[in-house]
Symmetry: C2
Subunit: 135 residues, 2 copies
DNA sequence: GTCACGATTAGACTCAGTCCAGATCATGGT
DNA sequence: ACCATGATCTGGACTGAGTCTAATCGTGAC
């Protein structure tokens, strides 16, 4: 996923986000790799060369991106949240041993036999996590 | 689920767990309610009347129970892990607003179209989380 | 009794994530 | 250019879940 910074600025604007330096860099970290990253990892990547962005800003920005549906959060590891630049409907393989995450395209995946929702409830989303082990 | 302490002692023994006072109380907290509890909640319940059990023991014991497959862990809330006395295959409704968790019996639920596992991988389990909102 | 060993404990510690109050930046008006 | 304003960013203190450690306790074997 080769994103230019200009494209990311557009993307941010489209989601009603004021494209500041820090926000662009954080978006770049996530989108250019297309990987699942923890807040820690984002912080490390963004500050790789010279320290540019504070911890607080990384968290603020990730939560802003979440709110504006620019990224998704993936909760599989009891220790940390992962942030996912892929907002298309999809599911995940999770390697319990290594902590690795891999996408599963939701197209073609079907779930049958779920009971009806409790009264007055609305589905927000269905997440499928396939936990796998090496060996 | 009305479990007597004697039944729980049996249950613990069957899973190769030395049934100490604390372990029985923790098992009782989980099994007698049949609810999803966080470590915090377990600690509070067990120490409701007189302080009987330390934080360290609660965590040690919950992890021991996990290892011995007496309980399962449910990871849906970014803040805390929930422990589930139900070890039968099942899935979950998760109310994003209230944090409430409800079981979905896995019997009858089918998933189709998952891609084959990466080479040399073994499925550990498939978790489905239906995120719902009130209203 | 005492020795050994597993279980429990208080409290210090770690680490992800939040909060806060001050500094900095961008923008628009004059 | 200058200032005012609001939005953003920042370091550092803080919180809360979970872990670690070293000391103590309980129980059974001898």
């Amino acid at each position: 996923m080769p994103y230019t910074r200009d494209q990311l600025v557009e993307q941010l604007r489209r989601h009603d986000i004021n494209p500041t330096h820090q926000r662009i860099e954080i978006a770049f970290a996530l989108y250019s790799r297309g990987e699942h990253l923890s807040a820690d990892q984002v912080l490390a990547i963004v500050n790789d060369r010279h320290s540019e962005t504070s911890k607080a800003t990384v968290y603020n920005t990730l939560n802003l991106f979440l709110e504006k549906k620019l990224i998704r959060e993936v909760i599989v590891d009891p220790n940390k949240v992962f942030y996912d630049p892929n907002t298309e409907p999809h599911h995940h393989f999770y390697n319990v041993d290594t902590g690795e995450l891999a996408d599963i395209d939701a197209a073609g995946v079907e779930v049958h036999g779920l009971p009806p929702l409790p009264d007055g409830m609305v589905t927000e989303g269905v997440d499928i996590i396939v936990r796998v082990r090496s060996r």
